[in-house]
Amino acid sequence: MRIRNKALPVGKISLLIVLLLVGLLVTGCTGIRGSPEGGSGATIADGTIFLSPSLKQAGGFGCSSPAVQGKLVAVNAETGVQRWEVPLTGAVSSGGFGCSQSSIPVAVYGSPALFEDLVYVAGYNGKVYALNAESGALRWVYPREGNIDSIVGGVAIALDKLYFGCADGNVYALDAATGDLLWEFATEDKIWSTPVADGGTLYVSSFDKKLYALSATDGTEKWEFQAEGAFASTPLVDNGTIYIGTLDRYFYAISAVDGTLKWEFQAEKWFWTRAVAFENTIYVGCYDNKVYALDALSGNKITEFDLESPVRSWGVLVENRVLIATEEGKIYTIDAVNNQLGLFADIAETIYAPLSLSEGVLYVYTQEQNLHALNADTGVRLWVQPVK
């Protein structure tokens, strides 16, 4: 009988395995993010770009400590040179220990909104900020004390009111000048989308699988539309119809008058982005890597474009072309007249934020914390600036 010379140190190996597992947990080798990154789209007015950069996760062994303090940055639209930046304070403690995130960071997902001399931005920490667009001076913050639940969508402005949805399920209407609460409306689950105001009606989609039409004046409900899946995307209102996709893989066309279903279209994965309308065609990107061109009246598929990467960023319409970006950083142009697809630019950086267009320039903010300015006709890069 052959006996091995080395006895197996079972206890030590077992201990090693357990410690290895613990190490995996601690170092976050699971590839799952624990902290929101944010990264808003750009909003342009009077030659200034406003955006809130993403909070890059700090790498390294052991406890990673992503930044918790967000900021709003103003950049010269012509040159990309920064004009000012203002820290967005108010990170709320989550009571974590050790490697956990001890504060909910001021990550911003929704693009800033402008009204008169103020720029508005809503943070994941559950606060809405109003700042002077010229200087960045803080005018007001809502709520003044403490925080509400996370705000993932952006804010909408109509007349003198500001609207936003919150993860606490409420839609809030504030006085845009003072930040005073005017009314609130409760849905049954989180709201991650941006409300859309159109003709005195506010359209809000919620995780409770409903799309609500509310009076923009007092928040009373006009109608609601029940879908099969949760809404994470922002509705598009065009010609009396609301177009919106859900996490149940359906894209709906709903009458803006009474909330009745006009048609529905099923894709292979969920819809997260807002659609773009051109005449009688609706273009919508999907997580199944495709952009669908649908007939606005019947919902019939006209054609589809395989972009080989999920589409999360909102597209824009440039005359008769739709520009749409994939997560992996390619921007495509679709000629809406003949539905021909072409590669517009390859940024090769991750794009989540909505594309923005102003005076023939396309602005793209990437998760690598770079702001790109491209000629909207040719795709030629005008400048790129890091915005951190």
């Binding site: 009988m1 006996i3 091995r4 010379n5 080395k6 006895a7 197996l8 079972v10 206890g11 030590k12 190996i13 077992s14 201990l15 395995i17 357990v18 597992l21 613990v22 995996l24 947990l25 601690v26 699971t30 590839g31 799952i32 993010r33 624990g34 902290s35 929101p36 990154e37 989550s94 009571g95 974590g96 220990f97 050790g98 490697c99 956990s100 997902y109 994941y124 993932v152 689950d189 989180k190 991650w192 995780f207 099969e228 899946g229 949760a230 994470a232 996490l247 149940d248 893989r249 292979e268 994965k269 969920w270 997260w272 997580y287 999920p310 999360r312 989540y352």
Partner: protein, 316 residues
């Protein structure tokens, strides 16, 4: 296809989708789905876990004998290792019996852990990332995103009570399998396992979503139950009457035989016939020629001819 893709395909995707479907059928309650899946996985791994617990228990019961060997051959490490292996072999206890099930279970636990973290999808980045793991089952899409509330818990945030529960149940589990030892290195290792691990996991629990803690607590309680079923409260109470199963009795009897043989001072080397015996015992089959009894005393074994002084004379 990279390793990550293969891992996602065979581990992550099935677990994530099953978790979501379970949530759907368990009243859209993600907490119940975590508990159910943990029990299902534990149930599926029951034979492996059972084997591991039994092997660990047998190994621990051999500790006095190993300590004795250490005393005897402490300086001669090679000899010590040889004698230790011999003791394992003769007792029918395989060190791999403890490790192999643990190694097989590890990827399953990691997949379960990662899936729970992914499905919780609290922040937009994680929910968006979940998309690539989903099967095209309609029920999956209509169930997402999941409700994170269960009892008083927000399954996406850490919870102090659950952290204490994780630490407590882990301590109980460790204590149950512990046997008193006089070996200082064994003592250190035991107290490390008994105290450091529960404290570390309790601390980690605070840092992770309580959905994960729910998985740990359920798993620990399952294993405590299993260990109780196998050997009673074990090291948890000072002198608890252990309810040994037939198989445990076999392990004990065999260890006793070997100890008896070793006390006699003989370097026992099993014959091929004895090796056959071991395999019969391990497989649970009866020996065709013995009517199911144990092998004859190792004293009666054929002694290996040795060169030079006998082992007995060394001791003397």
């Amino acid at each position: 296809m990279g390793i990550g893709d293969i891992w996602n395909l065979i581990a992550m995707q099935p677990v994530i989708n099953v978790l979501i479907v379970l949530t759907h059928f368990l009243f859209n309650n993600f907490g119940l789905a975590i508990i159910a899946l943990t029990l299902i996985v534990n149930g599926a791994m029951f034979p492996l876990t059972l084997k591991q617990i039994r092997a660990s228990k047998a190994m621990q019961e051999m500790q006095p004998k190993i300590a004795e060997l250490k005393k005897k051959y402490g300086k001669d490490k090679e000899k010590m290792a040889r004698e230790q292996m011999k003791l394992y072999k003769e007792s029918g206890v395989s060190p791999a019996g403890c490790l192999l099930p643990l190694l097989i279970q590890m990827p399953i636990w990691i997949a379960l852990f990662q899936s729970i973290m992914r499905v919780l999808a609290v922040i937009p980045e994680n929910l968006a990332g979940l998309s690539q793991y989903l099967y095209s089952w309609p029920v999956v899409y209509s169930t997402l995103p999941l409700n994170n509330h269960f009892l008083w818990l927000n399954l996406a945030s850490g919870d102090m009570f659950l952290a204490l529960l994780v630490g407590g149940t882990m301590w109980v589990q460790q204590k149950m399998v512990m046997t008193p030892t006089v070996d200082p290195s064994q003592k250190t290792q035991s107290s490390l396992m008994l105290w450091i691990m529960p404290i570390m996991f309790a601390w980690l629990t605070l840092s992770f979503p309580s959905g994960l803690a729910l998985f740990w607590v359920t798993s620990n309680i399952f294993r405590i139950g299993l260990q109780y079923w196998i050997g009673g409260w074990g090291g948890l109470v000072k002198s608890s009457p252990k309810r040994d199963t037939g198989r445990d009795k076999k392990y004990k009897k065999r260890i006793a035989e070997v100890e008896e043989a070793s006390t006699g001072g003989a370097d026992v080397v099993p014959s091929s016939a004895q090796e056959e015996d071991v395999s019969y015992e391990e497989s649970g089959d009866k020996r065709p020629d013995s009517g199911g009894g144990y092998r004859k005393s190792p004293r009666d074994s054929k002694r290996k001819p040795r060169k030079g002084k006998s082992h007995r004379s060394k001791r003397g």
